[in-house]
Symmetry: C2
Subunit: 415 residues, 2 copies
């Protein structure tokens, strides 16, 4: 499979089974999954599995024939979004969704320029990788991609109540820089909780101010909901709702089919029509009956098991317990996030907020050895990302916190 | 879902069930599927469905954990390919596979230029759509994309025994044109049976001559096997094998998982390593255990049910019967293709070979009304494409030919 592939952890995991928030390795050891947001409603949720099996055994074709699943899902999905966002197009991955969003934005604005936060990840295709500022160096960015700083109120330049508008103001500079290079802005693309940047939240007023600025320059506001969407933030179903802004385009992916490849772009009818006048679009597997059956089941489970509410409650419980750990462990510099998308910023020094990169790597590997799966994010890879399946219970959370407590002690002692 | 979506046929089909080569609509009417190559081993093949259900109920994660399915499949797949092509990378769609191939080619050659046949389709993302010459006008092509004529020996400029080398020679001109614009060639990308161009075959010596020329200029030879692959041509497992050429990169998609979204890039280890030194690549759903279970079952069925051999035999039977129809129906200008990838070139005049575009549209819609599903290809959309699931029997073929016979009579009479 070649050297482009990377495995998690110093001791890679050979997993053989998953159930709810638990994963099991080939030796029968169990791991609490605090990391995988793809298995949104829990690994191998029986309702999603049944929906896939049932539809796969009856019919799997494409959107050039009529099928009720894609229509039902398009309706269910757009019902979850603001009225203006009434048109859904289906693809298979978040990369494909962001590709399509960029194609729509460039076609309808006539611009090529993209504004994006630093340390963002938006996909693996050419056009999405070149705006994935966590993966390419600033020198490698094309001329038509300009970055603004992640709205980091812990370690960044702006930390006060007005940080949102202050960070958003960088978009003015970005648009000016694009203009000086001869590019009209097509879009501002933003992960509505700035995940790869390690921020896992956005300050008040940030998204809405940004939207206003980019629209003022003729560009579109594209909300990448691949990670925050489907109730994960607890307070809202979508990340952008927190700031009362309505995006021009929303992109969706990972959690949508609980692991079955399905993704989508939702936008306004006028934008999609303007794109369709200029270009065709067909995605062979996108919106097929089986993918839509999986996605419909995911929505059903989120609603029936009240998983958004669960994310809010269990997320708050984790934060409360992490605050307790912070009194004991000096390396916990900051706890942030919302719902079941949380971050633990590990520092060498609380005053200086110096990232504790090496310590963080040891913690993640120690947690793995003791049965808890997590990962690191942020430009210094010192931020522990906690983003479990949405069915995590308070009991599961306590299990994790107890192991994390021991882990921080072990790792700190071994320094 | 918006105006970018297109439905097949004047009277769109609402399908509810599929089994083998048959599809059933909401009114219980059955249709012989002569068009969908995605359902490669037949609609809802029980072994593929079982493989999906079984794995989906046990575990579905990603390639950052170890799992035997992706390793088993990578081995099985590379065993089917020439020794040099020993490294597989997984994604979800043919578009993603071609995206990755272009990224690899540009990274390792340092070039940006792409040579592609006219009337080709390679994907829906920005970088693949801009080489999809059947979907964009020559004026819209970026400077770094240059076309060569499809190797059409029926209606094109070269029709003799040496047409292969004559068509390949256009690649020299294309490379020169790229050079005059300041671009070094990165790759020549070709559908090894030139499907969208309506050729459905390539003349002897064509692929191997092209490979030699593009390599001589420092570019890679990329074989798009998304349509011809997995035994469809009958004579070979891959389209490129016919001409004894070994590509630098092979891209795979549609038939691979019988409708379950899985696709792949297979290349040489040195090329993938050189790419990996410059860039990361991760595809969340690519190579997941469920997709690989589906793809493994597809390979098993192709082998156990001897579907390549079936494609050769039934394809020959269809050609024989089509030759019979040609004696009766003047509008059949040419019958070409191999295995279960066949084309019927419909003409207004056999001498002039004038494309019978309107007649072809009426035939396809008449066939649909009488229970046979097919489609049109080629720059004039006058070529009936017959590309059924690989389990088509001689009996099924006879059923189709009888209806086609009537259909051609009806449509010709109504002119």
């Amino acid at each position: 499979m070649g050297s482009a592939y990377r495995l998690f952890y110093d001791e890679p995991l050979h997993l053989v089974r998953g159930e709810g928030v638990w994963l099991f390795d080939a030796d029968g050891r169990k791991y609490l999954d605090m990391y995988n947001n793809v298995a949104h409603v829990g690994h191998c949720h029986p309702r999603v599995v049944d929906a896939i099996c049932q539809q796969a055994s009856v019919l799997n074709t494409h959107t050039r024939y009529l099928h009720e699943n894609v229509l039902d899902y398009a309706e269910r999905l757009t019902d979850k979004l603001p009225d203006d966002l009434d048109t859904a197009m289906f693809c298979c991955t978040g990369s494909e969704a962001n590709e399509l969003a960029l194609r729509i934005a460039r076609a309808v604005t006539g611009g090529a320029g993209i504004v994006v936060t630093d340390s963002a990840y938006h996909g693996n295709s050419k056009a999405t990788f070149e705006i994935s500022t966590d993966s390419i160096s600033p020198q490698e960015l094309p001329d038509y991609v300009v970055t603004v700083p992640s709205p980091d109120t812990y370690r960044g330049e702006h930390r006060d109540a007005d940080a949102g508008t202050q960070y958003a103001a960088y978009v003015h500079e970005a648009i000016e820089l694009l203009g000086s290079r001869g590019y009209k802005p097509a879009a501002l693309v933003i992960d509505t909780i700035v995940s790869s940047g390690g921020v896992v939240s956005t300050p008040q007023g940030y998204l809405s101010s940004m939207a206003k600025i980019i629209r003022g320059a003729g560009g579109l506001f594209v909300a990448d909901e691949v990670q925050p969407g489907f109730g994960r933030t607890g307070t809202h179903f979508w990340g952008f709702e927190k700031d009362g802004v309505i995006p021009d385009i929303v992109t969706l992916g990972k959690p949508m089919g609980n692991g079955h490849p399905i993704a989508a772009v939702v936008s306004r009818r006028d934008l999609v029509s303007a794109f369709a006048e200029r270009s065709g679009y067909f995605n062979t597997f996108g919106g097929n009956p089986v993918s839509c059956a999986a996605a419909l089941a995911v929505l059903d489970v989120i609603e029936d098991e009240r998983l958004q509410e669960n994310a809010l409650n269990v997320g708050q419980h984790i934060v409360d317990r992490l605050l307790g750990l912070a009194r004991k462990h000096e390396c916990i510099g900051d706890i942030r996030g919302t719902g079941l998308f949380l971050a633990l910023d590990l520092v060498a020094d609380r005053e200086d907020r110096t990232p504790a990169e090496a310590l963080a790597a040891r913690v993640v590997n120690d947690l793995r050895r003791h049965g808890v799966l997590s990962g690191l994010i942020g430009p210094h890879a010192n931020i522990l990302k906690l983003r479990p399946p949405m069915v995590l219970s308070n009991e599961d959370a306590d299990y994790m916190i107890d192991i994390l407590d021991d882990s921080l002690s072990r790792v700190s002692a071994s320094r």
